[in-house]
Symmetry: C2
Subunit: 364 residues, 2 copies
């Protein structure tokens, strides 16, 4: 057996979720509660009736890749050959990390608080990694100086999610420009890109040719289960990542690719659901203010991080909440030590559930 | 960059396919030419309209996993917990090889002629591997004595495809029983299971608890692009493989899983297209006999291996065929040295194209 697989600890998120009861308020969800745009699924079904559901080339249908590349129009990465379509952003991140780093000494720098899978992917591949911690007293703002200072001679790649899961913070445009001074690759997880509530969100790929941008239909279009993600990168890096992809999964679902082709073919379809999140975001801010809890400013995504009103043990608090108070919340510590003492709440559920959940947390 | 990615040589199949012209006879195809059963895609689209397309748990929808496990009913592996649903059989094979072998000394034994991806997956993971060669003078029959003799103290797993790509040979029931004497894991790629033309096909999982069986909807249901495969294995091994799977792709497409759920819910749907292959198989045998070419008996799958009428260089012959004679055929050498001097032809195209292709090959 591969000892690196055995060494990875089971997910704490799953352990918490397993304790959920039928009447629990679930603020642990990591996926939209909206329904997807059915017209695109119907269009793909009609396409399947006519043409079947055949293999695409490994990197994905070229028409889709051209549409994706043109939509984002990152300089030097705006052609179909700059895109590989993957099984969700999970495979995109996995393939990028696995391909771009030499386990014999090239290090991944993870900007914490971070989605725990980044470190686990590196562990699985035997790739050394290190965390740089954004500061609690700075409300986990993306402090680019702090990130750049953490780069050392072994660092090969910085992984950064913006908008961020779990904090909801967003790298600003000026920050993205500044990150272009990094002497290493930047892997930006853009999965919450369409859910942004600031005027100047930053995308490193706009300014820096050594960027790998990852995204998917999961959050923007409520298609978590369609498993369509993509990597946008410069040619050479992309060709190497495509090689890895071709042995890991061969290709992404051609049916899902067709759904994506339809979405990218209709102006505005990718951001059609953004209005709901903006309206919910306003309600969520009001509810957070009313709760009296300390929270991280929500620049993007659909999470709110709230500080425990008492104590600092987020795992104990989350277990107490799910077992005794009927609220599922994710303990901050799983996103890195820097978020210990906080809970991550998702706010895709109806607002009255969030309000009741916040009330119970404030009294825990 | 990961040096193991750079070290993998580009696919020769792709190099040949790239030379195909508009009027070429394509005997290189690795996927069905039939259309899939549209009623299952429509059913999944209706389900999506009602419930959305959400994440399933990592291992896949439990109802689907129960149906798959019950359908195959392998002893000790017949419950939902014995199944992980994957992005095609490619991810299934990748996850099985990556998880079950320790790169520090556990060796994969590949039964050649074999699909080249098995060795490349091992290369990508730094897993040592060795080939055991079935014998040309035995028409590449699965000679279990020869395979068992090749197992040594470093061997941890045997990978065997039956029905086989490229040879079309099938492990017989008695052979499968005999393989249960292997002191190592057996990974059986069963992707062509529904396309079998002998009375006593063998499935090692029927007899041997240390078996990992991999399959998909790709060939049986003409759904190569749906990317739904699965692993059937004993609990402990399956849990470890599911962990790897959860970091590689998280989950398989929920839409594709629903298509599979519908297929496994309708008796006979999985083998509905088998009749077409049986009829085509009879026509193919007649065409091969008429061609005068030497060929490997076709027990299963949709390939025919034919011996070059002159010379032994299968790559040169395949290049000559595609460039000068308008026939795409795959050189045997890419499936291992033991198949040098042969060509692999697929016979999913109309029979007159196969006949014309055989005629041109016989005269090359």
């Amino acid at each position: 057996m591969n000892p690196r697989v055995s060494a990875i600890e089971p997910s704490l998120i799953r352990a918490i979720a397993a304790k959920k009861k039928a009447d629990s308020i679930d603020l642990g969800l990591g996926e939209p509660t909206l329904l997807p745009q059915q017209r695109f699924i119907e269009a793909a079904a009609r396409w399947a009736a006519e043409f079947g559901v055949k293999y695409t080339v490994n990197a994905g249908d070229f028409g889709l890749r051209e549409r994706i590349a043109a939509h984002y129009a990152y300089p030097g990465m705006n052609a179909g050959r700059n895109v590989v379509v993957t099984t969700g952003s999970q495979e995109a991140m996995y393939v990028a990390i696995k391909t771009m780093l030499d386990p014999a000494g090239e290090e991944l720098l993870i900007v914490d608080p971070a989605f725990p899978a980044y470190a686990k992917m590196a562990q699985l591949e035997g790739i050394p990694y290190r965390h740089v911690h954004l500061r609690e007293d700075d409300a986990y703002r993306y402090d680019v100086e702090l990130i750049l200072d953490a780069v050392d001679r072994a660092t090969r790649m910085i992984v950064i999610a913006s908008p961020a899961n779990p904090t909801g913070r967003v790298l600003r445009d000026a920050d993205a420009r500044r990150l272009a001074e990094a002497p290493v690759w930047v892997l930006q997880d853009e999965i919450y890109r369409e859910l942004t509530y600031v005027d100047d969100p930053g995308n490193v790929a706009r300014y820096y040719p050594y960027t790998i941008a990852v995204n998917s239909l999961s959050k923007s279009n409520a298609l978590t289960g369609m498993r369509i993600g993509w990597i946008i990168a410069p040619d050479d890096a992309l060709d190497a990542m495509n090689k890895t992809h071709s042995y890991v999964t061969s290709t992404a679902s051609a049916f899902g690719q067709r759904v994506a082709y339809e979405i990218f073919g209709e102006p505005g379809a990718l951001s059609e659901q953004s209005a709901w999140y903006r309206a919910q975001h306003a309600r969520v801010n009001a509810a957070l203010d009313a709760s009296g809890l300390r929270y991280v400013p929500i620049d993007g995504a659909f999470y709110a991080c709230v500080k425990l009103p008492r104590g600092n043990d987020s795992l104990a608090a989350a277990l107490d909440l799910v077992e005794r108070r009927g609220v599922v919340a994710i303990p901050g510590r799983i996103f890195g030590d820097t978020l210990e003492g906080w809970l991550r709440l998702s706010w895709v559920a109806p607002i009255d559930q969030l309000e009741e959940g916040l009330h119970r947390i404030a009294n825990c």
